[in-house]
């Protein structure tokens, strides 16, 4: 076997890691979205029971959290490395540049991966500190679920999205999620070496569908909460 560090530092290994970690996060986002559909129930206890269920997973939850953290850090590290490498590999840029079109996959999504990625990073920090650790929340949200006293996550979320500007800011990020995955999904398969005359068109279509389902799925929730739910 090639030494692990040599392999992952190579141009192929770096993108392999980026693809695995990115796809793991895509899987997480799907689960996260499915769970949050419980917000649409308009029933606080229902959502908080889901949250209680997750808490009751115990060690399993910690393992998942650890993997998510380790994977996103790896993903960011390799993403930034690709972006910096680009400047090193072409110190002097062209005076005139024109995309080639045709078979090229250089969409707006593809050219802005590092920007959508970095904005997603900022969002992740804000999102997790707000909803998980309740940083900057000046009121206490409590409820009793199955006899345990726990955070009233449902009310916290509804109050947050009640604020128009907070809600709109969140929506902008969800469009970036769509954009990141529009290129990211099929790209991850290519990075893993999966390119096949029959399956690549399927993967490409699936990428557009998943990017739309995830991006616009998360986009609908705050709209619903702000304009319809909880009124």
């Amino acid at each position: 076997m090639l030494p692990f560090l040599t392999a992952v530092k190579s141009s192929v290994g770096k993108k392999f890691l980026m693809a695995i970690t990115g796809l793991f996060w895509v899987f997480f986002l799907i689960v996260h979205l499915a769970g949050n559909l419980a917000l649409l129930s308009g029933n606080g206890d229902f959502y908080n029971k889901y949250s209680h269920f997750l808490m009751s997973l115990g060690e399993l939850l910690y393992v998942m959290e650890f993997l998510l953290l380790a994977f996103i850090l790896t993903h960011i590290f390799s993403g930034v490395s690709v972006a910096l490498g680009k400047m090193r590999a072409r110190p002097q840029n062209y005076d005139v540049q024109k995309d080639l079109g045709g078979k090229s996959r250089k969409t707006v999504s593809a050219s802005t991966m590092i920007y959508s990625g970095l904005l997603l990073l900022i969002f992740l920090v804000v999102h997790i500190s707000h909803f998980k650790y309740q940083v900057g929340v000046d009121r206490e949200y409590f409820t009793i679920i199955n006899g345990t006293r726990m955070h009233d996550l449902y009310q916290l979320v509804y109050d947050a999205f009640g604020n128009l500007w907070y809600m709109l800011g969140y929506e902008v990020i969800m469009i970036l999620v769509f954009s990141h995955l529009r290129h990211g999904f099929w790209s991850a398969f290519q990075s893993l070496g999966i390119n096949h005359p029959r399956w690549s068109p399927v993967i490409n279509t699936l990428g557009v569908v998943l990017a739309s389902v995830i991006g616009f799925g998360f986009l609908i929730l705050p709209l619903y909460i702000h304009f319809i739910g909880g009124r």
């Binding site: 090639l2 190579s10 192929v12 090193r88 078979k103 690549s200």
Partner: protein
């Protein structure tokens, strides 16, 4: 049939050409007016005429590379109006004709730009990084002695076609020039693929994938972001499915090599 010449009148073009004395010199754009350009000329003939004029008038001719001028050697290569090999797909610079342009056009001509391809002079770049990638693994071991019987090694039509497609790479470097990251993945993957797909290439299969990728990285090319501009720019239309094959070859070799 008689040679049909173009009915279009000759053109007047404004050329903006990158001039640079050597790798260390800064380099700058110089503008030239080119009158009387026939639409039937090739792009390189147009530059030849410009150079003849420059020589006659005591100027310094523009250095550019070319050899076969029939699209098979891979020597020519210019970034023309922001596109490697110019506006026509699946066409090398030498096979590009002036009928692709219009009277009064401004044409900006730049060399391939990549750290791994230093400018030698004007539009000529040093592509020996490609040679070193080939040297790192683009060969097969063959037993000396009598020639083998013909057709002793069965090869499927499917694989031989894929290998031939990969082998049509002429090493011009347009993939690097067109890639926003200046990655050499398409070139390297074509060279890995043409051998990995055939039984003759299986002996050095693992070392080849690892050594050629390592050499590519060492030369200072960028990483592959799967933009696919390389495939669109390639005069031989080499597919990025070769890049996926190179990745499979590399990962398999990394996991199983001694």
């Amino acid at each position: 049939m008689m040679n049909k010449t173009s009915e279009r009148p000759n053109m007047h073009l404004h050329l903006k050409i990158w001039r640079q004395l050597n790798a260390a010199a800064p380099g700058k754009f110089v503008s030239y007016e080119k009158e009387n350009v026939s639409p039937d000329m090739s792009f390189l003939e147009m530059l030849d005429e410009l150079n003849e004029h420059l020589i006659k008038t005591g100027g310094d001719p523009v250095a550019f590379d070319s050899d076969c001028r029939e699209g098979i050697c891979g020597m020519c290569g210019l970034v023309i109006n922001g596109q490697a090999h110019g506006p026509r797909r699946a066409t090398t610079t030498c096979q590009l004709h002036m009928r692709s342009f219009n009277d009064g056009d401004t044409i900006t001509i730049e060399p391939w730009r990549a750290k791994a391809f230093p400018v030698v002079r004007d539009l000529v770049v040093d592509r020996s990084a490609f040679d070193r990638i080939i040297q790192a693994g683009g060969y097969v071991s063959v037993n000396a002695g009598n020639a083998q019987d013909a057709n002793a090694l069965p090869i499927s039509k499917y694989n031989s076609d894929l290998a031939m497609d990969a082998a049509s790479c002429i090493g011009c470097g347009a993939c690097v020039a067109a890639c926003p990251n200046a990655s050499a993945s398409l070139f390297t993957s074509a060279k890995v693929s043409q051998l990995a797909l055939l039984p003759q290439g299986l002996v050095e299969r693992k070392e080849r994938a690892i050594n050629m990728v390592s050499q590519m990285d060492l030369e200072g090319f960028g990483d592959c972001s799967n933009y696919g501009e390389c495939e669109a720019a390639c005069p031989k239309e080499i597919s990025i499915s070769n890049i996926a094959r190179m990745k499979r070859e590399y990962v398999r070799a990394a996991l199983t090599s001694a």
